[in-house]
Symmetry: C2
Subunit: 344 residues, 2 copies
């Protein structure tokens, strides 16, 4: 078998990955916690063939074609798999996201998880979940978390072998809902990689370092206990801690001094403020944000309709017809499928 | 002389007053630094008269009348002055702001400074600048800073007698410009007094406490040295430190948990982000914000026109016709005038 296809989901971090201990190996400062998002996914087919002269990547567009091109980051990742398998065959990678890139879902997470799983299977490697998570992490840190099912913890570790993700609870353990509100289709100006490097510039960074072990214990316990109020408060405080650290990460951008990094737009702020009012009105909803303007509203299944209605009403009242909603539940991890993609 | 009139300006804090050591006496945690804003002012006439049965306050509206009413906070402040003068006469206070209240200029600062100066003169008290500043502080903390001329420092002190403002540099020492952009006429939802109390709830509060002495030294030195770049970076970092502490001041509001306090609107965020881009394009401008959505753009006289143009262009491009600009230079402190106000 020299061809395999895998499906993986982006994940949403509840306890954030922001700051690296080793930026070559993507070893993070801290344990993080995330949920796989079941409504969005990447499918990737990898074929190794002696007839291929070069690695080639075809990104299929929604409803359209896709042209083969060389992708250095993918090729480098294939090297990791080839070196593991003792192979020197070149590959064709065909991949398709069910969602647009750069708009709030971490396509690098689902992408590298699916690539790792499909590529290793196509090479005949029989890897454990832990090995797949470690390899995915080397492609993109948060991809490690898209390997196991459900709600996941990524143990920071202190070396490549000890830095991997494992399941915290399975997908059906707790009926958590993520109502993702995509407010902007613009590409973000500061990449996450740059953001990771600048985090230490914030005067608040030492507070975060000291707070992280306690946050991890409280949040993982709240998930085990299905204690939504404790979980929600930890979640929202964590998102605000990350974003206020960003906003105070002063740095030079060429000749220009910037007092911080902003992933927010006015729409992000409007939702963050609306959540405070919705809770005051009795709705149990909390927000989190990744490194982008998309606001993820977290509630229990029982409040899903009320949250969706509240967002739609706000969009209506404030003339924000461009908002797009995606409702996610805890999803599976990366897995193989027989339905291969074809380059058209 | 039983009647006197004083003029005072609101002030803009460069190094913020946020957090009190003593909330009855308004003794702050830290030294703060501010500039009197010359383009906006409060005029207050105080008349003591044996014929008055009660204290009465008339707030003259712009272009309209004004009805006499009892104002507990003003009456309490008059008690402080009466007790100093050994008088029991009741007063009529007529006051007029050149700007709307609650929209970004601290009317309580100019108001209590003018009231203290006019009231003490009407009672025949001969007070020093320091005594006037201390008395003004008891009415409203930041009013202490509207007494001296120019750019001012409020020494925190550790008792009522040692907590007062004095001049750092006179108004003509440095050609600093404040282009104030009033983005919203809405009243703020969280009062400054509440905000002061909640600051300690932020996990970042200890970082601020530790950073304050260094901030004070660096900022006052930059003002003495007329070093605009050092000053601007300190100024903007300070504003962001205060506002990110607000945004992470989690608290209960009745039954509802709030992850923080927001004085920003989408317009505030748009200006904060625009300033980063303007600097990248070579314009030397920095922002600061008080406890409200108004953005104060600080530049040197040489860049005043360019900054005003940049704001107008942004307002134009983004359909924000409601923005209102006020250009301020360092202003005088509180002083007496012979032009008394009359209730109409």
């Amino acid at each position: 078998m020299s061809k395999a296809t895998a499906i993986a989901h982006p994940n949403l971090a509840f306890l954030k990955y922001w700051g690296k201990r080793d930026s070559t190996l993507n070893i993070p400062i801290n344990n993080s916690i995330s949920m796989n998002l079941d409504a969005v996914q990447t499918v990737t087919t990898v074929e190794f063939n002696a007839a291929f002269a070069n690695d080639e990547v075809v990104v299929l567009e929604q409803g359209g074609g896709g042209r083969a091109r060389f992708d250095q980051r993918v090729s480098k990742h294939l090297d990791r798999l080839r070196s593991r398998a003792g192979s020197s065959l070149r590959a064709r990678v065909i991949t398709r996201n069910s969602f647009p890139a750069g708009t709030g879902f971490a396509s690098s997470a689902s992408g590298f998880a699916a690539l790792t799983m499909a590529g290793s299977a196509a090479l005949g490697l029989d890897l454990s979940e832990r090995e797949l998570s470690i390899l995915s992490r080397m492609g993109s840190g948060s991809a490690s978390r898209s390997i196991p099912d459900g709600i996941v913890e990524w143990l920071a570790g202190d070396s490549s072998d000890t830095s991997y993700a494992r399941q915290l609870v399975p997908p059906d353990y707790w009926q958590l809902i993520d109502v993702a509100v995509l407010v902007s289709a613009e590409e973000k100006k500061v990449s996450s990689s740059e953001g990771h490097e600048l985090a230490m510039n914030s005067p608040f960074w030492p507070v975060r370092l000291e707070a992280l072990p306690g946050k991890y214990v409280r949040m993982s316990q709240a998930i085990h206990d299905r204690d939504f109020i404790t979980f929600g408060r930890e979640l929202e405080s964590e998102a605000m801690m990350m974003h206020t650290i960003m906003m105070t990460s002063a740095h030079m951008d060429g000749d220009a001094w910037r007092s911080g990094i902003y992933y927010w737009t006015g729409d992000t702020l409007a939702l963050v403020q609306a959540v405070q009012e919705w809770r005051a009105a009795g709705l149990q909803v909390y927000f989190t944000l990744d490194a982008g303007p998309t606001v993820h509203l977290i509630c229990l299944e029982t409040d899903r309709e009320a949250v969706v209605s509240a967002v739609n009403m706000l969009a209506e009242q404030s003339g924000r017809a461009h908002w797009s909603l995606t409702v996610n539940r805890p999803g599976l991890g990366a897995r193989l499928t027989d339905a291969h993609l074809e380059a058209r």
